[in-house]
């Protein structure tokens, strides 16, 4: 390889690298997301969970009623666990929200743990 052709090869490599860098920059710019889109989902789900507990303290509700919300609800009290709707017993809990309340039970009080998630 003569000196002139070697110099040409170096310049070509340089140009190729520049082109690769430019392509990478363009790709990164077009696919870049500065931060995940802000969402109020967690606040909303926490409110819905507490609403269910309020409704439960005022009236009885069925598995069908809970199913209309599109959420799964798990209630744990005195060692027993209830899933609403019933099919949620086999549903994976993805990003659940939980809360704990002290509720009247018989002559005393007991702890009720509630969890809500989107199936």
């Amino acid at each position: 390889m003569s000196r002139a052709s070697a110099k040409g090869a170096i310049f070509s490599l340089e140009a190729l690298l520049a082109l690769l860098a430019a392509t990478a920059l363009l790709y990164a710019a077009s696919h870049h997301v500065a931060s995940p889109a802000p969402s109020l989902t967690n606040i909303y789900e926490y409110q819905v969970l507490n609403d269910f507990l309020e409704v439960r303290s005022k009236t009885t509700f069925t598995s069908g009623y809970a199913a209309e919300s599109g959420f799964c609800l798990r209630l744990e009290q005195d060692g027993s666990t209830e899933y609403l709707p019933n099919r949620c017993a086999s549903s994976a809990q993805i990003n659940p929200v939980s809360t704990t309340r002290i509720v009247a039970s018989g002559t005393g009080f007991t702890e009720l743990k509630a969890t809500l998630w989107k199936p």
Binding site: L26, A29, L40, D51, V55, G64, E68
Partner: protein
Amino acid sequence: MNSSRPSQHRRGQALLLDSVLAALLALTLLVAGMHAVSSAAESAKQSQETISEEAKAISLADWLIKEGAIFTTGSPYGPISHTHEIDEEKLNSLDLHALAERIGTNDVCAEFLRTNQPQSCSGRACIRRPAVLHSPMEAGYLVTCIG
């Protein structure tokens, strides 16, 4: 030109081609970069608007379920608010148009849905919260939509 050697002439053409290609590449990069920045800004604006409407709908639904549309009773100590117990008459008598203006939006609607009742209220952001209809203490959902 006449005095230049043939090799210099070819070198000059090669450099010209090189700079044209570089200029084209630079222009492409500039246009693509501007497009990427402008679409990112547009997407951020859109996301902000959606979040803003969701926030308004969440706030309004929270106010309705805790104060605006609930059943209240009197007592010697003052009024007692029964949160989550929707007074349908009170809900239907609310001036939702005035509410919409106060929170800076075009349209607001709210309704109480009994079990299996289809939803008629709609909007760009809707919030659906479990609640009880005070009379006859029936479980249902309070739907609030904005936009």
